[in-house]
């Protein structure tokens, strides 16, 4: 009862929309059709749309089909989506798994991975499994892992790395 109440408080503080809520037999609380947002002052930090958000232990949230927009003041800095995500509101760390896709609107860089960790307070984004990045000019970078900040201004790939650059012969 207390855990359910805490989960309810946690989500109601962030939720801008919830389509349905139900309490599971194991005591978990699941919300469906969820839109969450976190702000700092007048500025959004992130927006999340998820098919469902579930609280099992404590107030760690488990999200299904999450789409997350991270903001830098008024503009979207990074878009992240995947099949599953886990969010710890204490550390403010997101862990996304399965078919994760990141997109940097400023650099038009797209990254594919099966596990990505987004640490917003630490301004760090990491892909900890095999990664494929595609640049706007069509170059593809394959690596074992990747690390950057939310701006994606500088991205470090750990190897072995393989880069394929398209050639247009003159």
């Amino acid at each position: 009862m207390v855990k359910t109440g805490l989960a309810l408080i946690a989500i109601m503080m962030m939720a801008t929309a919830v389509q349905a809520a139900e309490e599971r037999k194991d005591g978990g609380l699941i919300f469906k059709g969820v839109q969450l947002t976190e702000k700092k002052g007048d500025f959004k930090i992130w927006d999340i749309t998820a098919a469902s958000v579930e609280y099992k232990e404590g107030n760690v949230a488990y999200l299904e089909a999450p789409e997350i927009l991270f903001y830098d003041k008024l503009k979207v800095e990074l878009q992240v989506e995947g099949e599953r995500a886990q969010y710890d509101p204490n550390s403010k760390i997101f862990i996304l798994t399965r078919n994760v896709r990141l997109f940097s609107p400023q650099h038009r860089l797209t990254i594919f991975s099966n596990r990505v960790v987004c640490n917003y307070p630490g301004n760090r984004v990491e892909s900890t499994e095999k990664t494929r990045a595609v640049t706007p000019d069509g170059a593809t970078i394959f690596s074992q892992s990747l690390r950057s900040d939310f701006s994606m201004q500088k991205v470090d790939f750990k190897g072995p790395v393989r880069i394929e650059i398209p050639v247009v012969e003159r």
Binding site: H107, L109, A133, T135, D137, A139, T140, I141, S143, M152, Q153, K154, V155, D156, F157, K158, G159, P160, V161, R162, I163, E164, I165, P166, V167, V168, E169, R170
Partner: protein
């Protein structure tokens, strides 16, 4: 008019077909950094580069995204059809398949025609 439109469509179809399946330039290494401030992609450690019949090694390769040029440095050695090109600093023009060695260049050429005459 129909013939003109047909020609236009054929030309438009040919361009993407030519690009599809085109062999890319491949660079491998131990690590890499994509730097959007300077618009470059740097590859470091056991760097290998290959494109069609040209392949080689160096210590570091820096690809300029905007200009399509790869700057190579450190113990450069490239091989093509048995001929070897070495140096310490080079520039490879990706779309022109041209390499310019800028420092301590050596070129060892093994012409195949001489062997056939013997």
């Amino acid at each position: 008019m129909k013939i003109f439109l047909s020609l236009i469509i054929m030309v438009l179809l040919c361009i993407p077909v030519a690009a599809l399946g085109a062999e890319p330039l491949v660079i491998t290494g131990d690590s890499s950094t994509l730097d959007y401030k300077n618009n470059i992609l740097t590859v470091r450690g056991n760097v290998r580069m290959s494109y069609k019949d040209i392949s080689g090694v160096c210590e570091e390769a820096v690809y300029s995204i905007s200009s399509g040029i790869v700057d190579l440095k450190g113990k450069i050695e490239f091989v093509r059809n048995g001929s070897t090109l070495t140096g310490e600093k080079a520039r490879y023009y990706v779309n022109e398949r041209k390499m310019v060695i800028e420092d301590r260049a050596t070129f060892i050429h093994f012409p195949q025609k001489i062997e056939k005459k013997k």
